[in-house]
Amino acid sequence: MKHLGFNIGKVKIGSFDFTCCEGCQLQLANRESTLPDFLALIDVRNFREISSERFDDYDIALVEGSVTRSDEIERLKKIRAQAKVLVAFGSCACFGGVNSLKNGIPQEEAVREVYDGKTIETMPSTRIADIVSVDYCIPGCPVSKEEVERILVGMVTRSLVSLPKYPVCVECKQRLNICLFDLGQLCLGPVTRAGCDAVCPTGRTACLGCRGPAEDINFPSFEQLVRDKKLSSSEMREMLGFYNGFADYLEHEKS
């Protein structure tokens, strides 16, 4: 393909899933109208969900899901050794995701409740960066295909790749939504990183922070806002814990 008059070779991509719902990988096949152009940019070398051909010569590895079993650690290390660039793809990979909600429960108890006596191996949900080094994080539950396209084009053309630094509120205001706080609801928009086009508050539901914290957020001021609006701080904590993206802030609060 050509970009700004230069010929660019296709970038070799591998897409891998660990403990997850595979919804982020599914986004790669969405936005059907731009799919042919997207596929002109990439050479799919390893993507079990859509192809039975599997090669190990990929440059960029997209890794979806968190790690919850020991065999996943070995698999992940092999992928890291092969890939020039490893991308944590989606909230489970970036933060541990909703899988982390089980981390607060004794693991044996969880197994006993669901599997009734059968031995099933599981361990607390761990984000990818705790096991191997990660070059880029693309958060979101699910990731936004538009953002994925933008970032991959940036990688291929070796231009600067970055995520918005500002919070979801900025995009929410751009969409002229009524603020959910004004409707008496709690919303994590003020502290969560933008880039989703404020899809949840636009649908009149609270942001649950799937993209993790925005940069330089004023967390005490957010807590004050929740108190001023007489909203529940325990609910706020439940929301902040949903995708595990705010673990550092919740830890800080405890201490």
Binding site: D17, F18, T19, C20, C21, E22, G23, C24, Q25, L26, Q27, A29, N30, E32, S33, L35, P36, L39, V44, F47, R48, E49, I50, S51, S52, E53, R54, T68, R69, E72, G97, V98, N99, L101, K102, I105, E109, A110, V111, E113, V114, Y115, D116, K118, I120, T122, C141, P142, V199, C200, T202, G203, R204, T205, L208, E235, E238, F242
Partner: protein, 433 residues
Amino acid sequence: MVSQIISNMKKVDFDIDLHHLPRVEGHGNIRISVKDGRLEEATWAVVETPRFFEVIVKGMNAERVPFLTSRICGICSISHSLTSIRALERAMEIQPPETARLIRLLAMHGETLQSHALHLFFLAAPDFFDAPSALPLMQSHPEIVQAGLQLKELGNEISAITTGRCTHPVSLVVGGVSKAPSKEALLKLRTMIAERRAALDMTTEFFMTLQIPAFVRETEFISLCNGSTYPSIGGDLVSTDGVVHDENDYLLMTNEYLTEFSTSKFTKVSRQSSAAGALARFNNNFSLLHPQARAAAAAFGLEPVCHNPFMNNVAQLVECHHIMADAAMLVDRLLDADLHDIRTAFKPKAGKATGAVEAPRGVLYHHMETDDEGKVVKADCIIPTTQNNANIHYDLHALAEQALQEGKTEKETEKLCVMLVRSYDPCISCSVH
């Protein structure tokens, strides 16, 4: 005939051991072992890592639950969301407004259309051309792949307009929906559905040229049935063996049990296994399909009760015809509906109930118990693929046996077995949840 007899006499030995089967959602393994021409083992094992949703949902506020359970599956997140919502609304005796009911039915159509299109074109079709994926088909059959993408895009667009986003819905809530689609968006959908009917007709002609493998193993098909419309959200639980149960009696329709080799459970009802999905819905509800869908079935020679699991692909296509016709009707009804009356306010209360929904891959159950603050105290989720695991397992055995008798090679047997598993469109990450 002579060559067949000779090949039958060959004492073949082979082991097929496929790990992390490609072009299915989630992680499953196939093992076939043949010694001296005799089938020693045929196993379907799910090795997915469990996520313990039933445990982590406990203590959660009912209003937040659908946002968690939708994350069980990236392909059928709308079904999971609506199944939890149905269970919680029945448990707390909440009646959502009629407009919300119509929006939810339309959302289900969007999800099923994208899921069926994804499966038919990206996961199933490549096998018929010995291609590793749909990517080579983009070169060899560009117009067909384009038609598939058009249908998939339409499904995603219906989901996005009705729920705010195509994966992991944002506006499906307990009590109704939090935001209705705009009239402009509905009008756009109406045009889009009409325009894309040509893509569906082209798809149908294309699939009629494909050779569906001949294989029959009698089984029991389970689906929802409400007696008046093709099933989607709620209804009685029925089987082709004549079993009928109330929605709340879902345990009698599943009887989950554990096996040594699989992290996903197995189920059974009247026989050693049963099946859910498009073919099961078709077999139990044929007369309730839109006439256009029945005509499409007739063109393929598909009639109830069909016991060839490979025909599940055709049943999905037949359902796409039904969805296109019914979605157009729902859009028209919504254009005449009150788009402001979409949410019922409710007081949390203690209760328990089951929600059953026909997800793209079959009947999905969530059972929820709430306390008087509306927090979940107990949850149970039984997923379509869990209900198909035993059927896939025993089908594999019968299919491998048939392939041996027909003198098929190891390679041919492996291909048939993989196609069989894919025809169920298994959603493995869902089945281990």
